[in-house]
């Protein structure tokens, strides 16, 4: 069957050498190399469900009156955009399933990218000759955050409107250009002109997906050209050998299996677990709000940062140069992404290691990098957790202000502590291995002496 298909292609296109090469491509032999694939498959689910949603979504803020089947909103004034998403959730066939799956897929997509990033970072897989692949990956993460935020905003429900206000305010806080950029994007002050929704929509369904899709293709092609990294499996293994399972019959069936599993999990969530019940939130108007409004998880770190930064602006004379939201909303993510972009170069400077590396290191083999990584992850994680302090107040009754005060100290102390512990654990693990090796060598020697 496959042979016939290959022959069919070959006689018409002469692609057999490429096909053969692809089928014989060796995949590294460790589960952590599959995390990126989850992101890829979540992206496919996102595109597929997203296409279905575009059939029914209306990118207009024209005010309409709702007359659909959902009683609590009947007769209410709302934007056409919000009404169309209500209809997707209420009357469109499989609309709610697809919408919820789309939203879960977005949440899982970003989670998978971050897990994949952890694997790449903590094993040093970003080193030469894969620097470009890594930079593209980090860029995709950034684009994904923006893309997801646009999707969250397009619905024009109460939460998305409140999220848009925050985004707008953070944008305004950028020194010198903020106000101009935001009134250019929104076509005027918040809540923007009727042109805003088509702009956001085209960015969400065309510009960003095409950018991400293109970068994704380049990312994967570059991986194939540079080949995957792999863990060292024998002590004598060099940087020049490639070990692993061939694409066919080894990897492909498993990968396809993983694709179906990912899609299965996402559709199960979409069908069984309610996400963003916009009919309960109601439509957004500039004069209404709800308590406990939160962004989706992937922007929680920015809300946390906005909450934690003490109240101060950079004022020169009578001119406020840097308004407060800048620190948490712009400077903080810039620092995090700046670190991600620059780290490979910094590491090369520190270690003086500019060689090619096809073998990745285990986290314990490079205690400095591991400690630094753990420190930064802990830092961002704590800021992220601080973002949900209002819900924690409701659930655990720890006062909001005292939580914020505690976090303001913890975000500096705990990361250092975590880094120190990580460093120590790495060293101990390596030392433990050396003890085991020595013991084995001694035993072997003893056996040799007995005979």
């Amino acid at each position: 069957m496959i042979r016939r298909a290959v022959r069919y292609l070959d006689t018409r296109t002469g692609t057999t050498p490429i096909v053969r090469k692809t089928l014989r491509y060796l995949f590294p032999d460790h589960w952590s190399f599959l995390l990126g694939e989850i992101a890829l498959y979540a992206f496919i689910v996102l595109v597929a469900t997203g296409i279905y949603l575009t059939f029914f979504f209306v990118d207009s803020t024209r005010e309409v009156v709702y007359h659909g089947p959902y009683v609590p909103l009947q007769g209410q004034h709302m934007s056409e955009a919000y009404r169309s998403v209500l209809n997707i959730s209420m009357t469109v066939r499989a609309g709610l399933l697809i919408r919820q799956t789309h939203h879960w897929a977005a949440n899982v997509f970003i989670a998978a990218i971050i897990l994949h990033l952890f694997r790449v970072f903590f094993t040093g897989a970003y080193r030469k000759p894969r620097g470009l692949i890594y930079v593209i990956g980090v860029t995709m993460l950034m684009l994904t955050l923006l893309e997801a935020y646009l999707g969250y905003s397009l619905v024009d429900d109460l939460l998305s409107g409140m999220g848009l206000v925050i985004g707008y305010s953070v944008g305004l806080s950028i020194p010198f250009v903020g106000a101009n950029v935001m009134s250019w994007l929104f076509h005027g002050p918040f809540p923007g002109q009727s042109t805003l929704w088509p702009r956001m929509y085209i960015a969400h369904v065309l510009i960003f997906p095409v950018l991400i899709g293109t970068l994704l293709t380049v990312h994967v092609l570059l991986v194939a050209m540079r080949h995957h990294t792999q863990f060292r499996q024998t002590a004598t293994e060099t940087e020049r050998t490639v070990r692993g399972v061939p694409a066919y019959p080894g990897q492909a069936p498993r990968s396809i299996g993983l694709m179906f599993a990912t899609a299965g999990v996402l559709f199960l969530l979409g069908g069984l677990v309610q996400i963003n019940p916009i009919w309960l939130w109601g439509p957004f108007h500039t004069y209404v709000s709800t308590n406990g409004a939160q962004p989706d998880w992937y922007l929680g770190w920015l809300i946390g940062a906005l909450r934690l930064v003490p109240s101060f602006d950079l004022v020169i004379g009578k001119y406020t140069l840097v308004p407060n939201p800048f620190w948490g909303g712009v400077a903080f993510p810039l620092v995090v992404f700046g670190f991600l972009y620059l780290w490979p170069a910094i590491e090369r400077k520190i270690t003086g290691d500019t060689a090619f590396h096809n073998l990745v290191e285990r986290p314990r083999d490079n205690p400095l990098r591991t400690a630094l990584g753990i420190g930064i992850v802990t830092w961002v994680l704590l800021v992220f957790i601080a973002g949900s302090s209002d819900r924690v107040y409701v659930w655990l009754n720890v006062s909001y202000t005292s939580q914020i005060d505690i976090y303001r100290v913890l975000v500096f102390v705990i990361p250092l502590l975590a880094a120190a512990i990580a460093h120590r654990v790495c060293e101990e693990l390596v030392a433990g291995e050396k003890v085991e090796r020595d013991e084995r060598a001694a035993e072997a020697e003893a056996r040799l002496a007995r005979t």
Partner: protein
């Protein structure tokens, strides 16, 4: 309406004796011997046409608060308060129904105040209720009435609030909640709000497992601890098989 008042007065005359006794037992230390209160209230902000008051110490005067306030604070278990200065929380009701009626009658007899309201949610309009609730209440109580956070207080979730209690709370504005006059929210509008709050106790969770009806925080928890955990586990399983192959 007049019949109600007459009835209330008649009951009051009969039961104020018992009520006064209970008052002396549980309320007198904070609210004073004859309900005159023990401290001045101070204004802590508010907005045009809305005065926000907080008791700096001990209890406020109960003269003129009427049956409405007494009924609300006693039947929610807000009173007696555990510690002065705390936010009153819904807790175990200390008194029997009869005792509450006696106490309420006594407090109502201290001055002329509003009677217990009788909301009629069946006359209200659900859509209007959602609209009014979003306008007036959701900023603190969350749009699905799951409660939230404001400076210095925790606006409660409204799961346990009865129709009468909702109507009472709107008129009193317990703790830091603003009080709404009948001009701000008419009785007809109040019927709609009560109807909405009743409805939202069992909202339309057509999407499946509701995970609390408060949006992104539990959604993030599900993303990581359910979906991501499951998918990583799948990777480990598939990765293991690769080794054997």
């Amino acid at each position: 309406m007049t019949a109600h008042v007459a009835l209330a007065v008649a009951i009051a005359a009969l039961s104020t004796g018992q009520g006064k006794q209970l008052y002396g037992q549980y309320c007198i230390s904070c609210h004073g011997a004859n309900g005159e209160g023990v401290a001045q209230a101070r204004t802590i902000g508010g907005a045009p046409q809305r005065i926000q008051e907080q008791q700096s110490a001990r209890g406020p005067s109960l003269r003129g608060v009427g049956a409405l306030a007494a009924d609300f604070y006693l039947r929610t278990g807000y009173m007696p308060l555990h510690r002065i200065g705390d936010q009153p929380r819904r807790s175990r009701v200390l008194f029997s129904d009869l005792e509450i009626r006696d106490l309420v009658a006594y407090i109502a007899s201290l001055g002329s105040g509003p009677a217990i309201p009788r909301p009629q949610p069946q006359l209200g309009n659900l859509a209007e209720g959602l609209h009014l609730f979003t306008d007036h209440c959701a900023g603190c109580h969350q749009v699905v009435a799951q409660g939230g956070v404001v400076t210095g207080a925790l606006p409660p979730a409204l799961d346990d609030a009865t129709d009468v209690q909702i109507a009472e709370a709107v008129r009193i504005g317990p703790y830091v909640m603003p009080k709404f006059s009948e001009t701000a929210i008419t009785n007809t509008q109040l019927n709609s709000i009560v109807r909405y709050v009743d409805w939202i106790k069992h909202p339309d969770n057509r999407g499946g497992w509701a995970i609390g009806d408060i949006g992104p925080v539990p959604e993030g928890l599900v993303t990581w601890f359910l979906a991501a955990a499951l998918l990583v586990a799948l990777c480990v399983v598939v990765g293991k098989r690769l080794k054997r192959a």
